[in-house]
């Protein structure tokens, strides 16, 4: 039996779709871990990112935490947290939150910092309070970048939650780890395919959120203003800004 057939056999076996260790339960667990960890990471990182971005104080931290986090192997962090805090849902959750913080913090900071100075001055001279400036001017303009950060944090968390099955967490990683131990490739592959599908689904969902919450004026999806803006702005020249390669391309990119 080829490896592909083993995968199909596992997925078409109805027993694998029911019970407390069935596929739906594992998907539910994986989604739960991801949502809880992402929400916690957001609650920590977003306000700090806003503050650093708005005041410009502590920018060093915001920039470097992102770079440093990339160099540290996530698998090692996971094991370290578990050895320090013990097995169980909470320690693993802590590890997932730690890994979710840097992308959100860095992108929130970068988004707010990226707002043009003249825009900020205009808002200030209209007499807006700092709070209103941040929430009504800077944040809406920064939103696509913030969402890009949430997107990569989500991928990081989904991916690490898979690995976390190794330290006895549930979720779709269980199929991969158990299948490996039982020499059952069908099971491993099923877990892998399902987790890949889940990651892609989350990513599409963020694309959708981006479309819904980002103001059409910011995303350039408003047909009339786009024409007006194109007439105003100079034609694209050299020096493409070196965007973060992990940041997804905004939809409707002018080619």
């Amino acid at each position: 039996m080829t490896l592909f057939n083993e995968l199909v056999a596992f997925l078409s076996e109805s027993a694998n779709w029911s019970g407390s260790r069935g596929i739906p339960v594992r998907i539910g667990e994986h989604v739960l871990y991801t949502v809880v960890a992402l929400a916690a990471a957001f609650a920590v990182a977003f306000p700090i990112g806003l503050l650093i971005g708005h005041t410009g104080r502590g920018a060093f931290l915001a920039i470097n935490i992102g770079n440093a986090a990339r160099a540290v192997p996530t698998f090692g962090v996971l094991i370290l947290v578990v050895l320090l805090a013990g097995l169980g849902f909470l320690p693993v959750l802590v590890a997932l939150v730690i890994l979710g913080i840097p992308p959100i913090l860095t992108s929130t900071y970068a988004g707010i910092r990226g707002v043009e100075g003249s825009t900020v001055i205009a808002a200030r001279s209209m007499g807006m309070t700092e709070r209103n400036m941040l929430l009504k001017v800077e944040l809406p303009i920064a939103l696509p970048t913030v969402i890009a950060g949430l997107r990569s944090a989500t991928l990081q968390i989904v991916s690490t939650a898979t690995i976390a099955a190794y330290v006895a967490l549930g979720g779709l990683g269980r199929f991969v780890i158990d299948g490996q131990q039982q020499r059952d490739y069908g099971k491993m592959a099923a877990g892998a395919v399902l987790v890949a599908a889940l990651a892609i689904a989350f990513d599409l969902l963020w694309g959708l959120v981006d479309r819904v919450v980002v103001s059409p004026g910011v995303s350039g999806r408003l047909p009339r203003t786009r024409r007006a803006r194109d007439a105003d702005s100079p034609p694209p020249t050299t020096g493409t800004t070196p965007t973060d390669p992990l940041t997804p391309e905004p939809a409707g990119r002018p080619t």
Binding site: L83, A192, V195
Partner: protein, 214 residues
């Protein structure tokens, strides 16, 4: 921290470090080659641009462990074969780099392009001698991110028996023993920093004009 363990296992640690470097570097080089070829095609034939972007970001979305495990099913290798990790990481590196390559190659200004044309440059020569050097800073920005990410992701391979320093993490977990874990973490981070520094030096060496312009 058990220093005795380190001194009595230096040979093994060195071996794992060597594996780790190999498993991280080969995909970077292979991924760069793929990204340059695909990226050049994507710039030459603009119709290919959207599917390349869509495909590469989809690949980038797939968790590493999942891709390691799916690989044997796709290319019928053995499950514990290191080639699975190498090919999976090559796909990641190429997906990350191709965007930078395409954006970089398109950064040549129309005036420069016309000058090249009127000087009789063939498209291939223009690509090699003009577009590519101009694209260099963006390509290197991508290379640095991809290299550091690869060095981190290789460890995950330990879960399917091919992990370089990641095997120190599994050892540490199984024996509830901090020393191998910390050794693995420190070496992995140092390796990432060293690779990043080397890439910065390489970029300086390859783009001597960048210092003059500044």
């Amino acid at each position: 921290m058990d220093w005795e363990w380190i001194s009595s296992n230096t040979g093994e640690i060195g071996g794992l470090l060597g594996d780790h470097i190999y498993l991280a570097i080969v995909p970077i080089v292979a991924g760069l080659v793929v990204a340059l070829v695909v990226g050049a095609l994507g710039v030459r034939f603009p119709r290919l641009y959207p599917p390349i972007v869509a495909l590469s970001s989809t690949f980038y979305t797939i968790p590493s462990l999942a891709l390691f495990v799916i690989m044997p099913g796709l290319i019928s290798t053995q499950i514990l074969d290191p080639i699975n990790v190498i090919i999976a990481l090559t796909i990641y590196s190429a997906s990350l780099l191709v965007r930078n390559v395409m954006d970089g190659l398109r950064a040549t200004s129309p005036e420069v392009r016309q000058s090249a044309l009127s000087m009789g440059y063939t498209p291939i020569r223009q690509l090699w001698e003009i577009d590519l050097p101009i694209a260099m800073p963006l390509v290197f920005a991508g290379l640095r991110v991809a290299t550091v990410a690869n060095i981190s992701m290789v460890s995950v391979g330990a879960l399917i028996g091919v992990g370089g320093l990641g095997e120190l993490f599994t050892q540490g977990f199984q024996r509830r023993f901090y020393t191998p874990l910390l050794v693995g973490l420190v070496l992995s981070v140092l390796l990432a920093l060293l690779a990043d520094a080397l890439l910065v030096l390489l970029q300086r060496w390859l783009t001597p004009w960048a210092r003059l312009v500044r």
